[in-house]
Structures are given as C-alpha cells and as structure tokens.
C-alpha cells in the first residue's frame, strides 16, 4: 500500500511551445524552460541514486513519523 503523499508513479514531461510541462504525479503541474528542465532532471537523477543507496543501507527505516 503506498504511503499517502509519497508517489510511486512517475510524472510525465512534455514539450509545448518551447517549454516543458511536468504533469503529475498528483498535484504537480509546472512549466519549465529547457535549461530548468535539464537541471531539474539531473538533480532528480542524482537524488534517486542517493535514495537507492539509502534504501540499500537500511536508512529508509529511520524515517521519523513521531
């Protein structure tokens, strides 16, 4: 069962009129320039890599809920 507010499905990016629109997951709806989209994409990839390492190290168990 997914954790509320944490999305398991990917957002969808598309280009229109020289800009990039990122739709979803859920309430995400933003418009970016090509440079901003590339920067965001790279940052997401780097963060995803780190997050996978954290999961492998068991650090995801430290998620504070109290």
């Amino acid at each position: 069962m997914p954790t509320p507010g944490i999305h398991e499905e990917a957002g969808i990016a598309s280009a229109h009129a020289g800009l990039i629109m990122l739709d979803g997951p859920n309430g995400i709806a933003i418009t970016l320039t090509a440079n901003a989209a590339e920067g965001t994409g790279l940052s997401l990839l780097r963060a995803a890599e780190i997050a996978r390492e954290q999961v492998a190290a068991g650090e995801d168990k430290d998620f504070p809920e109290e």
Partner: protein, 238 residues
C-alpha cells in the same frame, strides 16, 4: 429586481418576500464597471458590500513578483465581498473579469437587516459559508489534482454555477476568461493551460471557441476532474 439571482437554485425558497424587499431597499448604489478593473484593493477598508448583478468578477492575490493567483471566480447572484462586512477590510483584491453591473449595500444597512431579520441573516451567513466551501474545494483542486484534472474540475464547477443561475444549458456557456486567467485559477501557466485545453479537445470532453465553452462530455469531465458538486449546495433537481 436587483437580487433576482441571489441564492437562485440554492434555498431561494427560504427567502421571504418581506426579506427580499428589505434587501432590495438596502441597496445604496448601482454601478456599471468596465472589464478587467480592480474594484477593491487588498487591505482597503470597506463600508459597503458588493453584490454582482451581471458579469463575472474574481478575487485574487499577487505574489512578490506580481504574479496573480485567482482565489475565487464570481458569477451573477454572488455577494462577492459579504465577508468584508464583519471583517472590515479585504485580505485580497477584487476585480472584474467582464463588464459588470453591481449593487452596493452599506454595512450600516446590513446592521439593520441583521438586527431585525433572523431568517435573512441566516441566508446571508449561508452565502458566505458557501464561499468557504468553494475555497476548501479550490485547496483540494490545487493541492491534489494534476493539471488536466484541475482544468476539468474548474470547468465542471463553472458550468454548475452558471447552470444554477440560468447561464448554462448544461452543454454551452459563455466564459469570457483568457487562457492566462484560467491558468491563474488553476495554478498553471498560460502555455500549460493552452496544452490542457487542447488535450481536453482531443479527448472530446470540451472545446472552446473564442469565449464560448462547449462541454461535450460532462460526466467524463467530472470523472477526470474528481468533481462532485455537493459542495455547491445546489437544490435537488426535479
């Protein structure tokens, strides 16, 4: 009659002829406003409340860069700043989207109505609570829905509000808002709105010709936008 559309399709049967007459007599001024004019600015003290007779108005807030977020769209029959009566000033700007006919009701006259007419007072309270219900729905829309769903929800809401006052037949209505306006209501850019409108047309759900909206599949649009009109407190249809 000034208040012909007030609470139309929403508990209008609870508005007695005497209370309606008293409300009509409370009007101090009738005005015509041009389109796209800020009528009341944020933090401005108000001594009258604005009732919209004809046209469309919006409430909006600007961020530090001057980018606008619409926080409400009003149609004929709405008391657009009745909350300014107890609050004393507005925490947002109020502007016309189209040319508008408005009636101004002094807060001193509202004092008299509130002091002498409990049933009317309850209906005026209902009117402001209806605004609050719509604000809650807008928070849900902006916080939980993606762009295509937000736009679908907005059109479903607008259609339902206009149908309640006889300005939509369920399939077609006039909506003199630009794509920038629509984007500001849905929290997306105008270019994003342009793409969403194209997608809704491609899905055969909705089409816009200039400022005329054609809803091709209201149920499909409501499903996509997670729209349930219960928060609009409309009377049950016969």
């Amino acid at each position: 009659m000034v208040f012909a559309d007030f609470l139309r399709s929403r508990r209008r049967n609870l508005l007695s002829a005497q209370d309606l007459g008293a409300l009509e007599e409370a009007v101090a001024d009738l005005r015509t406003l041009p389109a796209r004019k800020t009528f009341i600015s944020r933090d401005q003290n108000v001594s009258m409340s604005t009732y919209l007779i004809e046209g469309m108005m919006c409430r909006y807030m600007d961020d530090r860069q001057g980018e606008r977020q619409l926080v409400a769209v009003h149609v004929a029959g709405d008391f657009v700043d009745l909350h300014g009566y107890p609050l004393g000033h507005l925490d947002h700007d109020l502007a016309t989207l189209t040319a508008c006919k408005i009636a101004l009701v002094p807060h001193a006259a509202l004092d008299q109505l509130v002091a002498t007419r409990p049933s009317l007072t309850k209906l005026l309270w209902f009117s402001t609570l209806l605004d609050a219900a719509m604000h809650r729905e807008w928070i849900f829309r902006l916080g939980r829905l993606d762009a295509i769903a937000r736009v679908s929800h907005f059109f479903c809401e607008t259609e339902a509000k206009l149908r309640a006052i006889g300005r939509s037949d369920g399939a077609r209505f006039a909506l003199p808002m630009t794509q920038a306006d629509l984007g500001e209501a849905c929290g997306i850019t105008s270019v994003h709105m342009n793409r969403m409108l194209r997608e809704l047309k491609d899905r055969d759900l909705l089409a816009i010709h200039r400022h005329d909206v054609e809803i091709r599949d209201l149920r499909g649009l409501a499903r996509l936008g997670e729209f349930d009109p219960a928060y609009l407190f409309l009377d049950e249809q016969d």
